[in-house]
Amino acid sequence: MKSENTLSTSDRRSNLRHTLSEYGIVIAFVFLCICLSFANENFMTWGNWVNVLRQTSINGILAIGMTYVILTKGIDLSVGSLLAISGIVAGSLVTGETAGSVWIAIPAGLCVGVMLGALNGLVVARLAVAPFVVTLGMLSIARGLTFIYNDGMPIANLSLEFRYLGQGMVGAIPVPVIVLALVFAVFWFILNRTTFGRYVYAVGGNEKSAKTSGIRTRLVVFSVYALSGLLAALAGLILAARTTSALPQAGVAYELDAIAAVVIGGTSLNGGVGTLTGTLIGALIIGVINNGLDLMGVSSYYQQVIKGAIIVAAVLIDVSRKSRN
């Protein structure tokens, strides 16, 4: 009797802790926004939030793909390079007087991302090479190919039609933000409402038992890298459209911001635990920090320190949560 009582109390406590850790990130985000709105009167304006959302869209899209990969206990270091090569391939089809249709250029760019992502997935799933190594290799290969593709020169003068993807507005909302919202909705649905989504969690939680229970784990692992490649390509197209030119050096080190967003959002690097909502808020936190510190005129050196501190703090919360469980 007595022992049952203690159990239920600790259960209740862990429930409370669970709720806190689940919503901790949301609370932290709201707190950060309140602080920044006191620090600068322009922060809480519609115009500024349009900026924050637009600036977050690219990292947000990358981070959504990264969440899938990290949930399977993997990592994708190649997203920055896949972003660049997709942007430059699509850009080359919509530049100058011979600009073709965006309905060819966009699928072509996405195709490049999916194929290279699938190649990552194939090597990780089939040959069982560590994801860190495979995608580190791809980071270098895809970047090199990007420079080879146009001899290291940027592709400028992209067609107006193509630029709409980065610069257009639907009513008062920028197109990149709408793309982010759609991507989030689709990927949230897949992860939370489909069998495939459950498999992603299962593979990351315990690959062996997932396999014994009949899940085709290799196919799941392969798919998440292909999806990450797809989203990296999409981000690359938006970046090129926003800056009106496809640069071969675009997206260097973007994988780090994407991983940071995932980790801040509470997804465990050990796989199996995490949410897409957390990732989205993680990306927003990074965006809000950069934006807020720019508004206040804080040097970019401090920005890096603060971002780093938040990442470590987020992981500390994650670790302490694990040890309690």
Partner: protein, 332 residues
């Protein structure tokens, strides 16, 4: 007319080039060019121009271009390799003004001449330096923006990566001019690391923080100026109402100048690259060497003179790009 002159010079040069190749069939020269990194448009243009030097094209010079990958240590290691291979001469575009000095000392100790190009290095062992004075470019762009806003108002400055020689010198040029105008206030000054994407976000945030107060934009390179223009457009403002200046004359900027959206000054990558190779060859071959590149002719009127090819520094002039002359700088 311009084309005829160009054609005549090209023909003359290629004849001269082949004549000297016949005269010295046995003698070839190994030249290494250590550049800080090949990922930017400017260094690509520089490297391509170097490969187009008449003596490289006819095989007299065997050219190896080494990519320093934006890392001082990599460049130092590449110097060691070139010294071991006993190259005849080195062209050096250092990533860091201080760290490059040690590399130059090592080459000098091995009696290999080193000619600097584009970015500076703090060493008196350098045979010569062929580049453009970034302080002047910084002055030119600041002057243009401040004049366009009528000598008073608020400006923001987008800086290069802090500590690079171009950033240090362009900032100095900006400040030389700003010091003269007491009614011009610098609202913000921050690095966007030469990057268009970074400048775009930064400028969006500045336009929010100083809504309606920014009168002019000084970008220490074209890429950042172009990013700023996109931010201005995204904000629903007309870029023509906020004078913006950049430096370098990359193709996209030339187009923007033509459209009346910004101003820029051309940094002549080709002249810097080919000029440095001529000066290096002069020090290897001796007084009999005649410069092969056409820049010495092109910039004569602007005050650049070959002399006997032994000056300690050659300053390639900056050319302002305007709506009327923009066409000639666009890639064909």
């Amino acid at each position: 007319m311009r084309f005829l002159k160009f054609a005549a010079i090209t023909v003359a040069l290629s004849l001269a080039g082949s004549a000297s190749a016949i005269a010295q069939t046995k003698k070839t020269y190994n030249v290494g060019a250590a550049v800080y990194g090949l990922k930017g448009e400017f260094m690509q243009l520089w490297a391509n121009a170097l490969k187009e030097h008449p003596l490289v094209k006819d095989g007299t010079i065997k050219l190896t271009i080494l990519d320093g990958k934006y890392d001082a240590l990599t460049q130092n290691n590449q110097f060691d390799t070139m010294i071991t291979q006993k190259v005849d001469g080195i062209i050096f575009v250092p990533i860091d003004i201080q760290a490059g000095a040690e590399a130059v000392n090592k080459a000098a100790a091995a009696k290999i001449p080193v000619v600097g190009s584009n970015t500076r290095v703090n060493s008196d062992k350098l045979t010569s330096y062929v580049g453009s004075n970034d302080v002047i470019a910084g002055e030119m762009e600041a002057e243009t923006v401040i004049k366009a806003i009528g000598g008073k108002g608020n400006v923001v400055i987008l800086e290069g990566p802090i500590g690079q020689s171009a950033q240090i010198e362009r900032r100095k040029g900006n400040q030389n001019v700003l010091a003269k105008y007491k009614d011009v206030k610098v609202l913000e000054m921050k690095t966007a690391n030469w990057s268009r994407a970074e400048a775009l976000s930064l400028m969006e945030n500045w336009l929010t923080a100083h809504s309606g107060k920014i009168n002019g934009i000084i970008g220490q390179n074209d890429e950042m100026a172009l990013g700023a223009i996109e931010a201005v457009k995204a904000k629903g403002l007309d870029p023509k109402t906020i004078p913006t200046a950049g430096i370098d004359g990359v193709a996209d900027a030339v187009r923007a100048v033509k459209a009346g959206l910004m101003t820029s000054v051309l940094q002549d990558a080709s002249a810097q690259a080919q000029g440095s190779l001529d000066v290096l060859m002069r020090s290897i071959v001796g007084a009999s060497y005649k410069p092969q590149a056409k820049l010495w002719e092109n910039y004569k009127a602007a005050g650049l003179s070959w002399g006997d090819g032994t000056a300690k520094a050659y300053s390639i002039p900056w050319t302002p790009i305007t709506m009327s002359n923009a066409d000639q700088f666009l890639p064909k």
